[in-house]
């Protein structure tokens, strides 16, 4: 019993120290520096890179200290932010994924960085316009783009050669894509050992395939001209995408990889699939791990359609509203630091995400990297070739996460033999209901 008592008291002391040891989320450190908290959703390899950049920033000046904290996936960190917003636990700067943009604006807990841009006449023209325009609402820059990626077609060059296809000439249109996939598919009896194409069951890829045709996701110019009230993705443009998947799946040239990025890449590395749509941020890892030549090409588009380019994916940095002036300055200073060409070059090389400051591409480390991975340049070119319009700016809706779930369910039902039009209409009807419900929220 004595032992238990001793143990108890030890624990109690531990407990108390733990309580008193808690730190307030944002404040001033002992040496008079202003400390701000930076929430991000970068796990694994990327976290090391983010920590590195933040360390460099902290050492580069002596006024501010930034503390990066990982907060789970994009969805989880967004949820957490919503619940702590306005309290002292709230971080000064948070990384939020593109689909959360509207939710952030509606929450009223953030302040547009435009304020700081205006204050010091910061030159935003140095930013990649196609990236920053995603986060512009009512011609106000709300957040600072940070990690951006676009979808590309990734393919196995060795397999192309074996199938008698030109490895330097990847399919551009849907019919070329179907033809190539047909040739790449290897069947032995009723067993297929190699498939033509895979698209991850993730709403983002559908959005991209729609946008490159100039198609709208929701009405009111993708919700940028006023509150979106209805889904628009179930028009003929959206149907073409669903038909492509459905046709190819029926032909046996399309392989369903599920909804995990890692599963799709494993299928590609193990040569189960020869072409896939992937994020530009994943390209470098693919090249490193594959024991074959990896090719990267633009996102395919339907025949007879002028490709409009891509919507940027990824995330941006948001500044909280209820922070003191020092912290505001610290946040802004940190954001500015992040967008310098040197930092962006390092970030681009280490993560595979785009540099939001094109000057970064002139940096030596980027040039060296591109020499080693010429595939990376393709991803950047595709972004530069994008025509800026409401379609490629991307939809602005608060119910994005749920809309994506509906699209995914629709895609999955295609593999069960559902009719493409019906599947898409069903998803659209669900999105309409949710939009209607969402419009009643404060």
């Amino acid at each position: 019993m004595k032992k238990l008592l001793v143990g108890l008291s030890v624990l109690f002391v531990l407990f108390l120290t733990a309580c008193s040891g808690t730190e307030s989320a944002s404040g001033t450190t002992e040496d008079g520096k202003t400390e701000i908290i930076f929430w991000h959703a970068m796990g694994g390899e990327l976290e090391a890179s983010v920590n590195d950049i933040v360390d460099n920033y902290n050492n580069s000046q002596d006024k501010y200290t930034v503390k990066p904290v990982y907060q789970g996936s994009y969805e989880e960190s967004l949820t957490k932010l919503k619940t702590v917003a306005g309290t002292e636990d709230a971080p000064a700067v948070t990384q939020i994924f593109e689909a959360g943009t509207k939710q952030m604006i509606d929450s009223g807990n953030v302040q547009p960085v435009q304020k700081f841009i205006d204050e010091e006449n910061y030159d935003t023209s140095q930013w990649e316009e196609n990236i920053s325009s995603y986060y512009q609402v009512d011609s106000e820059q709300y957040s600072m783009p940070f990690n951006s990626s676009t979808p590309v077609l990734v393919y196995n060059k060795d397999a192309f050669e074996k199938a008698g296809l030109d490895p330097e000439n990847a399919p551009r249109t849907y019919s070329e894509l179907k033809d190539a996939a047909e040739k790449l598919t290897i069947k032995e009896g009723d067993q297929t050992s190699q498939y033509g194409l895979s698209i991850l069951n993730y709403g983002w890829f559908f959005e991209e395939l729609l946008a490159t045709q100039g198609g709208m996701y929701v009405d009111n110019e993708n919700g940028r001209d006023g509150e979106a009230t209805k889904a628009a993705f179930n028009d003929e443009k959206g149907q073409r995408v669903f038909e492509l998947i459905s046709d190819m799946h029926e032909a046996g040239t399309f392989y369903n990889v599920g909804q995990t990025w890692d599963d799709m890449r494993a299928a590609f590395q193990s040569k189960t699939i020869t072409m896939m749509l992937d994020s530009s941020a994943g390209v470098k890892g693919l090249v490193d791990n594959a024991d074959f030549e990896v090719g990267v090409a633009y996102l395919p588009h339907p025949d007879g359609v002028d490709p409009q380019g891509v919507v940027i994916g990824g995330a941006s940095l948001w500044m909280a509203k209820d922070i003191n002036e020092k912290q505001e300055q610290a946040s802004w200073d940190f954001m500015k630091y992040l967008s310098t060409p040197e930092v962006q070059a390092k970030w681009h090389v280490e993560s595979g995400y785009f540099a939001i400051n094109p000057a970064a591409y002139e940096e030596d480390i980027v040039k060296q990297e591109w020499e080693k991975y010429p595939q990376l340049k393709v991803t950047v070119d595709q972004l530069h070739d994008t025509v800026s319009s409401p379609a490629t700016q991307g939809a602005l809706i608060s119910i994005f996460p749920e809309a994506r779930q509906q699209i995914v369910t629709g895609m999955e039902s295609l593999y069960q033999g559902a009719d493409p039009k019906e599947a898409l209409d069903k998803a659209a009807a669900e999105v309409d209901t949710v939009l209607e419900k969402g419009s009643r929220s404060r």
């Binding site: 989320a25 789970g72 890692d262």
Partner: protein, 270 residues
């Protein structure tokens, strides 16, 4: 038992072990592989390199996480033991109005899915200012219907004469509880202790919600932190993380297996 019977019994035991233990073995095996070996789908690593383990500790502050997991699990364990044994004591050795109703209420809490109450609970923790520290990670779990139930079942097996004798000797109820009941229920307490330690160690969603700083995080979050979304995860490193996370609980389980088994059954049976 005849020897053929014995041999076939061992054969069945070994086959079952192979099947049951395979996932754990597989995880250990992958934790020693490099990226290419993993993607080739090999079953065994070519060598026992510890690079993945080193990398795990470099990538996430796993040591801090381990300490946090350990501390919170231990605190919850002690808290649950105290709170549950007090309640169980009252349910068995005291008779007062409303007791059975309260007991039924307690049992009913077992049926409420924790996920369903998470949002309001999070708000409560936040308004109490308990986020980011051990308080928020532990206090909500101190009361455990399952534990009260288990201990109550055990206390009921204690002869009433013991209690009557203590009353005659004029020992206060609390002293009786503290110096007589708790020591003789040691095996049940150990059981409940291990059970609550394991359950708490394995918690994931709640710790992620109530902690915003690395200094208060637990290992299950660290496990998630090793995986990436948009770029490829390094499976060898993830599995090394898995092995590190399961090791302490497996050791605890192996050490306390006998007591655990004995205590859990008493609760279930009597």
């Amino acid at each position: 038992m005849t020897s053929t019977k014995r041999i076939s019994l061992y054969a069945v035991l070994i086959i079952c072990t192979a099947i049951m233990m395979f996932p754990i073995f597989y995880a250990v095996s992958i934790s020693f592989m490099d990226g290419k070996e993993v993607l080739d789908g090999q079953l065994l690593p070519s060598g026992f390199s510890l690079t993945n383990y080193v990398e795990v500790f470099e990538k996430v502050p796993l040591l801090t996480y381990l300490i946090n997991s350990f501390a919170t699990s231990a605190i919850v364990m002690i808290g649950q033991l105290l709170v549950s044994s007090l309640a169980a004591f009252a349910f068995v050795f005291m008779k007062f109005k409303g007791r059975d109703f309260v007991f039924f209420l307690f049992i009913s809490t077992m049926m409420i899915p924790w996920e369903a109450t998470m949002v309001p609970n999070f708000m409560t923790i936040q308004s109490l200012g308990w986020t980011n520290n051990y308080v928020g990670l532990t206090i909500p779990f101190f009361a455990l219907a399952f534990g009260t139930f288990l201990l109550r079942q055990h206390f009921k097996t204690i002869p009433k004469e013991l209690y009557e004798a203590s009353q005659v000797a004029g020992i206060s109820r609390f002293r009786f509880f503290w110096t007589v009941i708790l020591p003789i229920s040691r095996s049940s307490l150990v059981t409940l202790g291990i059970y609550s330690f394991l359950t708490n160690w394995n918690m994931y969603l709640w710790p992620l919600l109530v902690t915003n700083t690395e200094s208060a995080r637990t290992v299950q979050i660290g496990l998630k932190q090793l995986q990436t979304q948009e770029i490829a995860s390094d499976w060898g490193v993830v599995m090394a993380g898995v092995v590190i996370v399961i090791l302490p609980t497996l050791i605890l389980l192996f050490a306390g297996q006998k007591k655990l088994q004995k205590g859990l059954t008493q609760g279930a049976l009597k």
